[in-house]
């Protein structure tokens, strides 16, 4: 999921919540609650189906639709067998760690690199600053496909020239993910840094601090909310990515979880419960992050909007 922070024309003002001020708000809103309840349940319905299917036996899955369990919840052959099968089919003992090895540097590196660039764009003066920034803004929209073939060729050439293969190794994915995260990261972080009090930076300058010291000791610690928001996005984006892994990690010893799930998708003849359980194994990390860090997640979405 690409999330471009979106500028809001009128920055949110302090407004009284419409439903805790005034007289007309104390209505219980039963109808709205019911409508929203229906929408929300419908929204989660596909995922509920996935969860139920993963807990059924192959015979049950093949015989009846998963929604029939609601009619007869105790007549089912409930089992967690599928999770074990899917774990093996995904080779999760390996692919899980591969996913982590791809995702962690592909999150940390772009955040740090972009923070440096954002600092330069915010606090340093240099020629062509506006133009560079406009280029960055434009690059946010550029689809990754435009660079795929030449990057592959470049990696092959590098591998032939130095004898160090890159394709199939983690760094191939790090580089590609870091590059394509750069524009958005710089944009979010610059937006945030430009709200930091300039006087503080000035004061540090007067006290003789170098820009490197200011960057590490002031700008980075003060930008933690923005850094965290972006890092969460990038983490989810890379963890959930299939395309880059498919092209640059390829099938082999360094395969990531999403690739495992993709091949599992092709094996539904051996039972849908395995596919469902595999999907859940792949979903665990994003869902955990999502629930634990929801506050940052939502703040990251509105990063461009809420100053």
């Amino acid at each position: 999921m690409t999330v471009t922070p979106t500028p809001v024309a009128n920055p949110p003002r302090k407004t009284k919540r419409r439903n805790n001020a005034g007289a007309e708000q104390e209505k219980p809103h039963v109808i709205i609650t019911i409508i929203m309840g229906i929408i929300a349940v419908a929204w989660l319905f596909p995922l509920v189906g996935l969860l139920i299917t993963s807990l059924r036996s192959k015979a049950d899955v093949d015989a009846t639709g998963w929604w029939t369990v609601f009619l007869n919840p105790f007549g089912q052959d409930w089992t967690v067998q599928a999770f074990g099968d899917a774990w093996d089919a995904l080779d999760a003992g390996t692919t899980f760690w591969n996913s982590a090895a791809v995702t962690i540097p592909a999150t940390v590196l772009p955040v740090m690199i972009a923070a440096m660039a954002a600092y330069a764009f915010t606090f340093l003066q240099f020629r062509g600053k506006e133009i560079y920034f406009a280029v960055i803004l434009g690059l946010m929209v550029v689809p990754i496909q435009i660079a795929v073939i030449p990057i592959l060729q470049l990696f092959v050439w590098f591998g032939n020239a130095t004898g160090i293969p890159i394709i199939g190794q983690y760094p191939a994915a790090w580089i590609v993910h870091a590059t394509f995260a750069m524009p958005l990261a710089i944009y979010i972080l610059r937006n945030y840094m430009s709200t930091l009090p300039n006087s503080l930076i000035e004061a540090a300058r007067v006290d003789g601090a170098s820009h490197f010291q200011i960057f590490w000791r002031l700008a980075v610690p003060m930008s933690v909310p923005a850094l965290a928001s972006f890092a969460i996005f990038q983490f989810l984006w890379v963890w959930n990515d299939f395309f880059v892994a498919y092209l640059f990690i390829q099938s082999g010893p360094n395969q990531v979880l999403q690739q495992g799930l993709y091949s599992l998708l092709g094996q539904y003849g051996q039972g849908w419960q395995r596919v469902a359980a595999g999907s859940f194994i792949v979903l665990v990390v994003p869902l955990l992050i999502f629930f634990l860090l929801q506050r940052f997640f939502v703040r990251g979405l509105t990063a461009g909007a809420v100053k």
Binding site: T6, L47, G65, A101, L137, Y170, W174, M182
Partner: protein, 331 residues
């Protein structure tokens, strides 16, 4: 074993990057003050410049050139310049025109639906108490955390096909056979009226509404209370208040969400690839790029496809830069 190599790679990769950074820092600190001031911005920008130049701008240029070339079928022979041939053969190919039509439908339908549904939910939840609002929003939002491949897996349980006579274990066909009494339909292969593409679009809408909802909800809350009060005092009903007071004030956000979802749609590959692999006329540009490159072994044509995609996103680039400029002026 996997965990060890993973940990070692992570530590090495990060360590090396920080070492390079530290080295630059050290070099610059050694310089004279005046050169230091001039060099400093570029030290901060250096990693970005390298990454973007080597892995984005240069490849983009190469792709552009490659779109005018044709790779020889024989191994070891280079490519020859063929002018606009790749483009001409694409635009005279009915399959590719179908791909363009699909892409157009995707770009119109998905962002508009995501914005409308997101706005509806934002407005409905805005009238509820805080607790209920939060929990409903969280439920709508969950699909955003799901990968394209996992979403494809999830929706296979709804869209797939079991031949007549077999138990109907896929939801859509179960409902269809029950309601109409007809035979089940292989939905994902039905390209009449692009039924299969619309079904796939629904998955992306399902994923993206949460995003639209969060931003639109923030915008709706940002509408100043006084303007709404004033409209109510003047006797405007709910609908008129919404259309004439709220909508004009959140227009900027609506547009921004629309553009962001459009960008996402233009780039999303996983779901279509995971559901149909682009078969049955469901392909869009990013999927067609992949088929041209790997299935048809035709890098020149693949490059032409991605250049066409690039031309299609130019308006979005212009929009991004312009909206940023107007935002800067507000500061």
């Amino acid at each position: 074993m996997a965990i060890f190599s993973a940990v070692i790679s992570v530590v090495l990769g990060l360590g090396l990057s920080f070492l390079i950074f530290w080295l630059f820092n050290w070099i610059v600190e050694k310089q004279q003050d005046r050169t230091k001031a001039r060099l400093l911005p570029y030290v901060f920008l250096f990693p970005v410049i390298v990454l973007v130049a080597v892995f984005l701008l240069y490849p983009a240029l190469r792709t552009f050139v490659e779109s005018f070339m044709e790779q020889s079928k024989r191994r070891g022979e280079g490519a020859t310049f063929v002018g606009l041939d790749n483009y001409i053969s694409l635009f005279t190919d009915p399959n590719f025109l179908g791909v363009l039509l699909n892409n157009l439908l995707w770009v119109i339908v998905v962002p508009a639906s995501a914005v409308l549904i997101g706005l509806l939910i934002a407005i409905l939840t805005d009238r509820l108490g805080k607790r209920r609002e939060q929990s409903f929003k969280a439920m709508i939002f969950i699909p955003m955390a799901i990968s394209g491949i996992a979403a494809a897996a999830t929706w296979r349980f709804i869209y797939f096909y079991a031949p007549p006579g077999n138990p109907q274990i896929y939801l859509l066909n179960a409902v269809w056979t029950r309601l109409t009494g007809n035979d089940p339909v292989p939905w994902l292969t039905i390209d009449a009226a692009r039924v299969n593409s619309f079904l796939l679009m629904f998955i992306v809408i399902w994923l993206q509404v949460g995003f639209a909802m969060v931003l639109l909800s923030a915008a709706v809350k940002g509408v100043p209370e006084e303007t709404i009060e004033a409209a109510r005092l003047d006797g405007a009903n709910e609908r008129r208040t919404f259309l004439l007071i709220i909508v004009p004030q959140i227009r900027g956000t609506v547009l921004a969400v629309f553009v962001t979802v459009t960008i996402f749609v233009m780039k999303s590959f996983d779901i279509i690839y995971g559901m149909t692999g682009g078969q049955y006329n469901t392909s869009v540009l990013v999927v067609d790029f992949y088929s041209q490159l790997f299935s048809f072994q035709n890098p020149g044509k693949a490059a032409a496809v991605v250049i066409i995609l690039m031309i299609a996103v130019v308006p979005l680039i212009v929009y991004q830069i312009r909206s940023y400029k107007s935002q800067e002026e507000l500061r």
